[in-house]
């Protein structure tokens, strides 16, 4: 890699693994979109923020919803405003350009400096959505028929795409991306992630909480396993609640922060009961 290409090396607010950093740098160097997958709460969205921060670029976020269409990312032709203006005689109706509003992708193309474009949760949209963006992401340009204009990227933005695997993405789309799967962090990495968010955490509390957390993740049959962001919230709750570290494992306080599904709570209680019903009266009493 030549020195002129920017290399991402992580930022202070975000712990990045070597593998992920390599993938990011490959994507930047090859100017291809980087597709990030991983369990919910492993910091997929945070990554884009961290890249923007580290490389000192602006971040443009395009949040995808189930109703989002690819066209909206390029531009929207505000016909209603134009009709309104024509009837009430405001402004110059002849100038169609005035009614073309660029979407997030268009914005990123026309930005004067290189930006980071985050296309968040691309799998939420319609099945055909990624296919509709193939050309635009490949060529970094699109055509507006209404004004007979072609919008071309001044600087190819760094494109980060996240997916929660709710839908399979089309092969043609995948072929154009660099792919990275964020594996769940091991306890050591987790500790450094936590220290970023809670720098002044009591050691004893952290130890107990981590132990309980990985214990919970290893309970079989739990459908929505607690993730990093939930652990961080839980630690916050433990600190605010002033819980005695020695009681964390026994009482499992604020369990609702970690387990979000009724079924999972039930499963956990059953497992605990199976180990001996008198052993954990604190927990069981709480839910009766």
């Amino acid at each position: 890699m030549s020195a002129s290409v920017k290399a991402y090396g992580g930022s202070s607010g975000y712990i990045v693994s070597d593998e992920l950093r390599n993938s990011v740098n490959i994507a930047i160097a090859l100017q291809k979109p980087l597709l990030i997958k991983g369990e919910p709460g492993t910091g997929k969205t945070m990554l884009a923020q961290s890249i923007a921060e580290a490389l000192n670029m602006d971040l443009i976020i395009w949040n995808i919803k189930s109703t989002t269409k690819a066209q909206e990312g390029l531009y929207v032709y505000d016909t209603v405003q134009r009709l309104y203006d024509s009837q009430f005689g405001d402004g110059d109706v002849g100038n169609i350009k005035k009614y073309i509003k660029l979407g997030k992708l268009g914005e990123a193309f026309l930005a004067p400096k290189q930006v980071v474009l985050l296309i968040d949760e691309i799998d939420k949209a319609d099945l055909e959505f990624p296919n509709d963006l193939l050309w635009e992401l490949d060529q970094m340009s699109f055509y507006i028929p209404e004004t007979k204009e072609t919008i071309t990227a001044k600087q190819r933005p760094i494109v980060i795409i996240t997916s929660n695997a709710e839908k399979e993405l089309p092969d043609a789309f995948l072929r154009r991306c660099i792919f990275h799967y964020i594996a769940f962090p091991d306890p050591d990495t987790m500790e450094s992630i936590i220290s970023v968010h809670h720098p002044k955490l009591e050691k004893k509390l952290l130890e107990q909480a981590m132990e309980t957390f990985y214990l919970l993740r290893n309970v079989p049959d739990i459908q929505k396993k607690p993730s990093t962001s939930e652990l961080i919230d839980w630690l916050q709750a433990l600190v605010v609640g002033g819980v005695n570290p020695n009681r964390i494992k026994k009482d499992l306080p604020f369990l609702g922060v970690l387990l979000k599904k009724n079924e999972d709570l039930d499963t956990l209680l059953q497992q605990l009961q199976g180990k001996g019903s008198t052993k954990n009266p604190g927990v069981l009493g709480r839910f009766r």
């Binding site: 160097a29 090859l30 072929r175 660099i178 050591d188 459908q223």
Partner: protein
């Protein structure tokens, strides 16, 4: 040599295309692998593998292909730093290697013993003592190309070793997986959602506005067909004794099916080992509540997707003989296989999911009946991959034999 790796990957079942291979070569030319095997491992994985389900296959292919290659590992992070300082990278590594080349393992061990005897305190950095960092051959997190690691994490792990660890094994889709994965697989049944039939009842607001504007303000309404899933599913599950060991798997599938409320209609029935005159409403298979199979055949339209789940393993007479039913107090006028054939003829979109892994089908206890039944129904194993294939085959009408 590299082209061979391409075919190795293909042999391990990775869908690598030439385009991706080309870009990988470009990336190599651009020096993105940092001239190390580890760098190449991550570069190749990022560029060629597009789903975590294939990470394991990549690991296996990589380990198989590169297992005999022993390289003094490159130092990716270090190289980045050197590049930043614009120092020629080769010079530095060569110098380092020359310096440390002669040490073989025995010598290293001997030296380590000596050092241990001499050393009396912690040591970090530097090039001689046992400690962290530095270029001494002993300790961890350091950069000696052929040293001994003592504790800590290997910072520059050999790529072959990383690949050999197969950390992504659990993401393989040909393993059986949880409810969530089943749900995602079942969701694919939504792909053949049809918008072709039905009345246009939904107002398309955007198109109406566009059209009205085109007409310079004269209102014109545009109607659309509502998006609806037209898929109807008939699920028949074996709850016989031989299925008990798979009950957890089937439960997961069933939960997934139940949650996926996006089908237009979902009917679930149970049977014991084989299907005869009765389809039961609950897994206990008691005659207290059942629907006659005949009734199902007559009333359901043939566009129902039929999914059968069972191990297809039973005594030969249960399948082939009149009166072969396993229940003492019941009698069947038709052999089980006839019922299956009738179902197959009625429902052209159908598939049989078998929780027994495919490689056992030819020699397990029920091999004969499995074989017979798979002549009637297309049979897939009950894994996420199998379910995927099954759902693909449900898309196409298949002529009954």
């Amino acid at each position: 040599m590299f082209t061979k790796f391409f075919y190795t990957l293909k042999n391990y079942g990775l869908p690598v295309s030439l385009n991706e291979w080309q870009s990988l070569l470009e990336a190599l030319e651009a020096g993105l692998a940092g001239s190390s095997l580890t760098g190449f491992y991550y570069l190749g994985r990022a560029m060629l593998v597009k789903t975590e389900a294939h990470y394991d296959r990549y690991d296996m292919a990589f380990a198989a292909f590169f297992k005999d290659i022993e390289t003094p590992e490159g130092l990716p992070e270090k190289i980045w730093e050197w590049l930043d300082k614009e120092l020629p990278e080769l010079q530095v590594t060569d110098a380092m290697r020359k310096q440390h080349r002669q040490l073989d393992l025995d010598e290293l061990k001997r030296m380590l013993e000596e050092r241990l005897a001499e050393q009396t305190e912690e040591h970090h950095g530097g090039n001689r003592w046992v400690g962290t960092g530095g270029t001494s051959p002993f300790g961890h997190s350091g950069f000696h190309p052929g040293g001994i690691r003592i504790g800590g994490m290997g910072r520059n792990q050999s790529a072959v070793k990383v690949a050999g660890m197969r950390r992504f094994q659990e993401f393989r889709t040909d393993e059986t997986l949880g409810v969530r994965q089943f749900q995602v697989a079942l969701r694919k049944l939504r792909q053949f959602t049809t918008r072709l039939d039905g009345a246009k009842t939904e107002l398309d607001l955007d198109a109406t506005i566009d059209k009205t504007c085109d007409n310079a303000g004269r209102l014109e309404l545009i109607w659309n067909r509502p998006r609806e899933n037209a898929i109807k599913v008939l699920l028949l599950m074996d709850s016989g004794g031989s299925m008990i060991s798979y009950s957890r798997l089937c439960n997961q599938l069933f939960t997934a099916v139940n949650r996926s409320n996006h089908f237009k209609d979902l009917k679930v029935f149970y049977f014991h080992n084989c299907i005869y005159d009765w389809l039961y409403h609950d897994p206990q298979c008691s005659l207290k509540s059942y629907t006659p199979t005949e009734y199902i055949l007559n009333t359901l339209s043939s566009d129902y997707r039929l999914i059968l789940v069972g191990d297809a393993s039973m005594a030969i007479y249960e399948l082939m003989r009149v009166g072969g039913i396993i229940e003492w107090d019941l009698y069947n006028d038709r052999a089980g296989i006839d019922w299956l054939k009738r179902l197959r003829h009625k429902f052209e979109y159908s598939v049989w999911l078998n929780p027994i892994p495919k490689q056992y089908w030819t020699w397990t206890d029920g091999a004969y009946t499995i074989n017979k039944i798979s002549e009637v129904f297309p049979m897939e194993e009950l894994t996420v991959d199998g379910l995927d294939r099954a759902i693909k085959s449900l898309k196409n009408r298949q002529a009954a034999i």
